[in-house]
């Protein structure tokens, strides 16, 4: 008998069919993968199982019987537990209180605490139940999420992209815990778009593309290429790269110290980093290790650094305003597109004004016609799908908005281009285009700094890699001189200890 059977599940939203006749069967104790790109319908399907979204059509069977999970509570009663991608924890509460909120109200807080100690030991997910959530690292928070899922002895544990916030060592640990859990009869539904992980962990795999099932397989018998064919319908576009033609140092960070301004932030300690013209430097690391703070210091949003710490073409810009830096040729695309790189309620034409001076005359008066013309140019050149320059930024899809924002900055002919998570949430085709644009900039002699959590992306486009951990930046390495395993060690700050000469592991690269 199957633990969970889904038959012809369909869910429509106003403009999109998120799930189109999806069927899926999971055996007790099986680790089942749900593979698909961002936006393929994984999240919707998981939410349907978890009871927070109601399908328009289709049937769900649990241990053979037809059920309707109308709410998360009902699903929980069946034995479904879910670990969310964006961690759904409460900062001001303690670990135990966070878990308590998700379990049967009749259990006392003390009982919860005791059992947490027990569970944590059993699965190797150590975390102190009495600590407040805001004092925990991202990895610890995820452990709390999983512990919360395990608390009620679930029969099915759903994990949504659980490794996106973890360093490779923590991933290994997580897999050990998951295998142990499965061996005790709990089924696991593991959603991810990371092929290696799925091949390493899962026994069965259902592949989704644009809301439909495009394949079912045993991942151990598949290759990355065959899996990705099912996932995206074609081999991923290979980005052409020429060898770098390095110029002078364009952007240099020397011994930058910056005390955190946000209580939940990270302080920068002695950051050294340089990017030469014609070079792509990739910054790897689990987010929340100082990347945001470093980028703010480079962009000028945080200009508190000690003079001399950041220079652009030899000029000290540590204290310079963002506009001054842009005038010198530094362009920045932050991770947050809505609300930082663009004002959600403003039109694209007005959003041009955020970083572009065209359309403003000497007296500071605006020329709406020029503005709209400029916006239209960017929309056309970067094939942004939008109704026109008057479309509000918030009306664009994530990928299209990213094209517009990247386009706005690339169109300004940057000499130094800094970008965070360039392809986050963008579909594979568009991601390849954006990476191509980044490499085109580099080939034209622009210095590029890319911060990303996608290791594959970094290996693909970087000429030099550095790793950030706990507010520090590792020494630079050529991608071919830095194995994924070593990178993983560095992501938890291990470079200082392992200062031994780097071994060459060119054959262990992430797939491209």
């Amino acid at each position: 008998m199957w633990r969970l059977e889904l038959a012809d599940i369909t869910k429509r939203y106003a403009r999109v069919v998120a799930n189109d006749g999806v069927s899926l069967r999971i055996a007790p104790g099986a680790i089942h993968a749900l593979l698909g790109e961002n936006g393929a319908g994984k999240s919707t399907l998981m939410k349907i199982i978890h009871g927070s979204v109601r399908p328009d059509a289709g049937e769900m069977r649990w241990d053979g019987a037809v059920v309707r999970a109308g709410s998360p509570q009902q699903a929980r009663a069946l034995g479904v537990a879910m670990v969310f991608q964006h961690l759904s924890l409460f900062e001001s509460l303690t670990v135990a209180e966070n878990v308590w909120l998700g379990v049967d109200p009749r259990v006392s807080l003390d009982a919860v605490t005791d059992r947490l100690f027990l569970l944590a030991g059993e699965y190797g997910l150590e975390v102190d139940p009495h600590r407040p959530m805001h004092a925990l690292t991202v990895g610890e928070r995820q452990r709390v999420e999983i512990l919360r899922g395990l608390f009620a002895d679930p029969k099915l544990l759903i994990l949504d992209e659980p490794t996106s916030v973890l360093d490779p060592q923590s991933v290994t640990k997580l897999f050990v815990a998951l295998r142990k859990l499965a061996s005790r009869g709990c089924s696991i539904l593991y959603a991810s778009h990371k092929l290696e992980e799925i091949r390493a962990l899962c026994q069965r795999c259902t592949v989704l593309r644009a809301g439909r099932v495009t394949g079912e397989c045993e991942p151990a018998n598949e290759t990355n290429a065959s899996l990705s064919r099912m996932m995206i319908g074609a081999e991923p576009a290979v980005v052409e790269r020429a060898p770098p033609r390095l110029g002078d140092v364009a952007l240099a960070v020397r011994g930058l110290n910056l005390v955190k301004s946000d209580p939940f932030g990270v302080s920068l300690a002695g950051v050294d980093l340089s990017v030469r013209a014609g070079e792509v430097v990739g910054v790897a690391g689990v987010s929340g290790n100082g990347q945001a703070e470093l980028l703010a210091a480079i962009s000028g949003e945080d200009a508190r650094g000690d003079p001399g710490a950041i220079s652009l073409f030899g000029q000290d810009i540590t204290r310079a305003a963002p506009r001054r830096r842009r005038a010198l040729g530094l362009r920045f695309v932050p991770e947050e597109r809505l609300g930082r790189a663009a004002v959600p309620s403003f039109s694209l034409a007005k959003n041009m004004l955020l970083t572009r001076g065209e359309g403003v005359d000497r007296a500071g008066m605006l020329c709406p016609r020029t503005l709209r013309g400029e916006a239209r140019r960017v929309i056309e050149r970067f094939s942004v799908k939008a109704s026109g320059p008057d479309a509000a930024a918030q009306s664009l899809s994530g990928g299209n908005l990213q094209r517009f924002i990247m386009g706005r900055e690339i169109d300004a002919k940057p000499r130094v281009f800094v970008v965070a998570q360039p392809t986050w949430g963008v579909d594979v085709g568009a991601a390849a285009v954006l990476r191509g644009e980044i490499l085109k900039l580099r080939d034209h002699g622009c210095a590029v700094l890319v911060v990303s959590e996608e290791l594959e992306e970094l290996y693909e486009i970087s000429d030099t890699l550095v790793v950030m951990a706990a507010g520090r930046v590792s020494p630079p390495r050529k991608p071919q001189d830095l194995s994924v395993a070593q990178l993983g060690e560095w992501m938890s700050g291990g470079w200082a200890a392992a200062a031994a000469p780097a071994r060459s592991h060119g054959d262990q690269h992430a797939p491209g």
Partner: protein, 383 residues
């Protein structure tokens, strides 16, 4: 069970219809109120909506009352668009009256009519000064501007009381708490003989035009609104949050101060404890009903002025309390907020079974691709 859902798209027509709908709803509630008070609802509504525009003298009074509302409202447009919640315009208005009045009562009777210029400037300066306290405390100590500006209203009113009961009291005033009546050359010039409407109305219209130009046609105005819509975007673009804060407060303070000066040297002609008539608070309603747009504020200030006159007429003709005005004003804004909400959301009646689903469906599929902050930053209803 009721369920509220985000509308996939908001038509411009629907958006523009909200204030009209709100006015309509307010009239209906008003009519019911009249019936409850035992008065003819048609007559009551006539007093509010017809009488104030039915004669030249009525129109003159309408302009007179609309002037401070428009001036303050336009200033608040700038402040609110910058996301600076200056709620204490009433206090800045009082300081404006004190500034202008203090100068006006010292003007020699022989001086020419030009003295009104420095007198009104003193008013604007007074309002700016009062608002600058708010700006400084927010800038330096991060003190919440809502609370500080509000507390300063009470302080300003007490200061005015102190002056008119104490050092500035008219020695020949039979101990009434009031200053001397200002000399004629210190009075705001009237527009037409025989009518009370004065040059303040023109000044207010000019201020509205200037504010519109600033907000929608200058880079500075753009930067101010970026800061209001999204602080992170303003930091990213390099617009100074401090500059927006100070601009917003000084502009709205100056406007309120000027309104106070015009009031003291116009219809009142002296300082007394009744100068603060609540225009500073009513102007908040004016600004919102006018959609934080100077043109809208012109219209809403006229509407609100009708409410004032209507309330007075109800008092004199129907023997109803003047407090009706406040009720009507509040009602209008409440219904406007409801209508606004209904423009953005639709309320649907769901059967209890279907209502078991905890979340309504947004137009986009599950938040896979959206940064988690998107929903919280795209919140300001004023855009």
């Amino acid at each position: 069970m009721l369920r509220v859902e985000l509308r996939p798209e908001i038509s411009n027509l629907r958006s523009a219809s909200a204030p009209v709908l709100a006015l309509f709803a307010t009239s209906i509630v008003g009519a019911i109120l009249f019936v409850c008070l035992g008065k003819d609802p048609a007559r009551g509504l006539e007093l509010f909506f017809v009488e104030p525009v039915s004669s030249a003298s009525a129109l003159s009074e309408l302009a007179l009352k609309a002037t401070p509302l428009l001036l303050i409202g336009v200033g608040l447009c700038i402040a609110f668009r910058a996301n600076v919640w200056n709620i204490g315009a009433e206090g800045q208005f009082v300081l404006g009256a004190i500034g202008s009045g203090g100068l006006a009562m010292r003007m020699p009777a022989g001086a020419g009519h030009w003295v009104i210029v420095p007198i009104l400037l003193a008013g604007a300066l007074g309002g700016m000064l009062w608002a600058a306290i708010v700006a400084e405390l927010r800038d330096r100590f991060h003190a919440n501007e809502i609370l500080v500006s509000l507390m300063l209203v009470y302080v300003a009113e007490l200061l005015l009381d102190y002056l008119v009961y104490g050092p500035w009291r008219d020695p020949q005033g039979y101990n009434f708490p009031q200053t001397i009546t200002f000399p004629p050359n210190a009075a705001v010039p009237r527009l037409f003989d025989g009518y009370r409407a004065d040059a303040g109305a023109v000044l207010a219209l000019v201020a509205a035009a200037a504010a519109g130009l600033f907000l929608f046609r200058t880079y500075g105005g753009f930067g101010l609104q970026v800061g209001g819509a999204s602080a992170a975007a303003a930091r990213f673009a390099g617009f100074s949050a401090r500059a927006s804060l100070w601009t917003a407060l000084l502009a709205s303070g100056a406007a309120a101060g000027l309104a106070g000066g015009l009031e003291a040297c116009g219809p009142v002609g002296q300082l007394n404890p009744y100068v603060p008539a609540g225009y500073g608070f009513a102007a908040i309603i004016v600004a919102f009903v006018g959609r934080l747009h100077p043109v809208g504020v012109v219209l809403s200030s006229i509407l609100m002025s009708m409410f004032y006159l209507g309330g007075e007429l109800c008092q004199s003709r129907l023997g109803l309390p003047k407090a009706l005005t406040g009720v009507f004003q509040g009602l209008l804004l409440l219904t406007l907020l409801v209508c606004d909400g209904l423009v953005r959301y639709r309320v649907r009646w769901l059967s209890p079974v279907a209502a078991g689903v905890p979340a309504p469906s947004p137009p986009v599929p599950a938040g896979d691709a959206l940064p988690s902050t998107a929903a919280s930053v795209a919140s300001d209803p004023e855009h």
